[in-house]
């Protein structure tokens, strides 16, 4: 009798362990800093909920990782052979991961989801190599000129339509006594990744670029003109000096900065943190001579070494379905990977989104054109030269020349 009881208990424990093991086996790990972002978290939770309902017994594990440690952690886990099931990657990172052979091809999952690659935004091309796609574009952060309508109208100004009007407005809106600025962009050493994105919006807006077709382009007249514009802003004290992006974004949210060339994420944060500023938030295409803009695209991918590759791939391609694409616009307040899901009433209620929609359809990737896989090194080289220009008073022309030489040297070392 006692033996039967023990055997029964043993079997019971074994069954319990097995069920626990089975439960763990169907858990999709998705660590991301975006789980804690006020605009993105509701979209991601909606996707999680839909996917778990459609795939009973599956659990999407939402791990909120602080942005400060996220990239290092994700990369270390992936390289160590213990990656999460879903990885989050920006433009240069996805090229790096693809070139290193770390990502799972997703073509068959796109097919299963009924999505054709041609339906995706232009910047999604970065996730392709030799006709194979390795990522899902979650959201497109195209750059436009966000402005505080109230600050402009209080100063008797209309939204600037060209670079001269922009500079004039920035000067008029600078009120030191009120600690008010007309514009903001990076002006602090360090965090060169953010600096590169912020400055590149101006560079591309002027029609320039640090790279063109895989070749350095830092001394092109358009690139130098953009650098000159940036240096003017810094030298004349027209932008908050020595402040990191988190700091000056707070100034914009609190209505202390009138204009900001950035992506739609800022609208999501402003909507959450300051209703008054949000009511006055508008956006226009960048009033810069190049009439072009850039975008930061957030991609999702599945590492080859992931434990639940198939489910993870199904999860991220599920994001491309109509319901989640619409949510990315309405709740996330950003542009999704597939165009055509912007409800008309949403644009009526959020007039700033019109400029974002237009920009998202034509925006170039912010990654160095044709040298995307060297993004991190290019960011470092560019960042150092911009810091030298701003903080050691080197002219824009000289900076363009020196930067071109440095980038050419770097590319030569890669051959």
């Amino acid at each position: 009798m006692r033996r039967i009881t023990i055997s029964g208990a043993t079997l019971g424990i074994a069954a319990l362990l097995l069920s626990v093991r089975m439960a763990v086996a169907t858990e999709i790990t998705w660590p991301s800093f975006q789980w804690s972002e006020p605009n993105n978290a509701p979209v991601m939770r909606a996707l999680k909920k839909s996917f778990e309902q459609e795939n009973p017994g599956t659990n999407v594990k939402d791990l909120a990782v602080p942005p400060a440690v996220f990239w290092d952690k994700q990369m270390t886990d992936t390289v160590a052979g213990n990656p999460p099931d879903v990885v989050t990657l920006y433009d240069p990172e996805i090229r790096q991961y693809i070139e290193a052979g770390l990502l799972e091809p997703l073509d068959q999952y796109y097919k299963q989801a009924g999505i054709d690659k041609s339906e995706l935004v232009q910047t999604a091309k970065l996730a392709e190599k030799d006709g194979v796609i390795y990522g899902v574009p979650f959201q497109v952060g195209a750059r436009a000129l966000f402005y505080n309508q109230k600050l402009l109208s209080d100063a008797g100004l209309k939204p600037p339509q060209n670079v001269d009007e922009l500079l004039d407005a920035i000067r008029k809106l600078r009120k030191p006594a009120a600690q008010q600025f007309g514009f903001m962009t990076v002006s602090k050493p360090g965090n060169q990744s953010v600096a590169y994105i912020e400055v590149n919006a101006l560079i591309v807006g002027f029609g320039g670029g640090f790279f063109k077709d895989g070749k350095p382009n830092a001394n092109a007249p358009q690139t130098v003109a953009a650098l000159r514009f940036l240096k003017t802003l810094y030298d004349e004290g027209l932008i908050p000096r020595g402040m990191d992006a988190n700091g000056y974004r707070q100034l914009f949210i609190q209505g202390k900065v009138a204009m900001y060339a950035t992506g739609p994420f800022i609208a999501g944060i402003v909507a959450k943190e300051n209703k008054d500023t949000y009511a006055n938030l508008r956006a226009e295409p960048l009033p810069l001579p190049g009439k072009t803009t850039m975008a930061v695209t957030v991609f999702l991918g599945v590492p080859k070494a992931a434990k639940n590759k198939e489910l993870a791939a199904k999860l991220i391609t599920r994001m491309l379905k109509d319901d989640i694409q619409t949510l990315i616009v309405t709740d996330g307040k950003t542009f999704p990977g597939r165009p055509g899901f912007v409800p008309a009433n949403f644009v009526a209620e959020n007039p700033w989104f019109k400029a974002i929609e237009e920009a998202s359809l034509s925006a170039k990737s912010y990654a160095p054109d044709g040298a995307e896989q060297y993004g991190a090194e290019v960011v470092k080289i560019v960042g150092e030269h911009i810091e030298t220009m701003l903080f050691e008073n080197v002219s824009a022309e000289e900076t363009g020349k020196n930067l071109q030489k440095a980038l050419e040297g770097f590319m030569a070392s890669k051959r």
Binding site: V79, P189, G190, R241, K380, G383, T388, F391
Partner: protein, 313 residues
């Protein structure tokens, strides 16, 4: 009875010496050390061995890497950035050593005197040491802020300067500012060590010197300083090793090595190579170079320690 005693004490009945009581007793300390030994091997020596192994390959992200001998070391040592990061690391360490030594000694002499609220003053001077690096960096970051920082406000309000100072926005002021934060954070270590050292100098020496007509400066020069010689040497070596090998947290949090690489130390560059550029082999080679430099200082430290022990004995 005698037979039993004989048997018990005879070599025939005793166990072989190798398994004897004395041998097992000798093993006991090692058994106690074993858990920490295993822990150290796993979290310290194994990563170190692994770093050396990786530094001998050409491995990067997603690639296992092939053996390339000392190629990575050659690449690092002949690179454009290495002389600069080495120079910055050396300047950073030198600044730390000199000022921590000087301020530590000054505050120790001050706190060694008898005055009201001395325990409170001692606690206050130790406080910076207790502040975590991240908190210290955030506080100082706001104080240094160009637009809204309290330091620039005070400088302008007091009329010291009309223009705002670019604490973290220019070179070399960024390196000076960061070294200042590090000194503020670490000088209490110097204070504590010097205070302990001052307690070991017999009061009779000062009394005798006073009788002989020595003034405070002569007493300091001929009694206090020689009395603190061992503490000084140990503190210098410790701070050198720490500031050279740990020149990361404050720099990374406040400037990330900028502006334009002005505050980029060898440790910061090693981090960038690994986690930004995914050059793990290069980063490992830099890590080994830092290890070797720190090891040289450590050998110096140990030599001083042994000499002191021998002298004490």
């Amino acid at each position: 009875m005698s037979t039993i005693v004989e048997r018990a004490t005879s070599s025939h009945w005793s166990r072989p010496r190798i398994f004897g009581w004395s041998f097992r007793e000798r093993l006991v300390p090692y058994a106690f050390l074993l858990p920490s030994g295993i822990a150290l091997a796993l979290v310290f020596f194994w990563p170190m061995v692994k770093a050396v192994a990786i530094s001998l390959t050409d491995g990067g992200i997603g690639a296992a890497g092939h053996f390339v001998g000392l190629e990575q070391y050659k690449r690092v040592l002949t690179s454009n950035y290495f002389p600069q990061v080495l120079r910055t690391s050396a300047l950073w360490s030198l600044g730390n050593v000199i000022f921590i030594w000087g301020i530590g000694l000054g505050t120790a002499l001050l706190l060694d005197r008898r005055f009201a609220l001395r325990p409170l003053a001692r606690a206050l001077f130790i406080l910076p040491w207790a502040v975590p690096y991240v908190a210290a960096a955030l506080i100082w970051g706001w104080m240094f802020d160009f637009e809204f920082g309290v330091l620039n406000y005070l400088i302008q309000a007091s009329g010291i300067a009309k223009q705002k100072l670019a604490f973290l926005l220019a070179c070399p002021s960024a390196l000076i500012s960061l070294t200042g934060v590090s000194i503020w954070k670490l000088f209490p270590l110097g204070t504590v060590m010097f205070l302990a050292g001052l307690q070991t100098i017999p009061n009779e020496y000062y009394e005798a010197a006073q009788v002989d007509g020595a003034g405070p400066i002569q007493s300091f020069w001929h009694i206090t300083l020689p009395g603190l010689r061992n503490v000084s040497v140990m503190l210098t070596l410790l701070i050198t090793i720490w500031s050279f090998g740990r020149s990361f947290a404050i720099i990374f949090l406040l400037t990330e090595g900028g502006p334009a690489g002005c505050t980029e130390t060898i440790v910061i560059r090693s981090y960038l190579e690994a986690f930004k550029f995914f050059h793990f082999a290069t980063a490992s080679a830099m890590g080994v170079i830092v290890l070797l430099i720190s090891l040289a200082f450590s050998i110096g430290y140990l030599a001083v320690m042994y000499r002191k022990e021998a002298a004490d004995a």
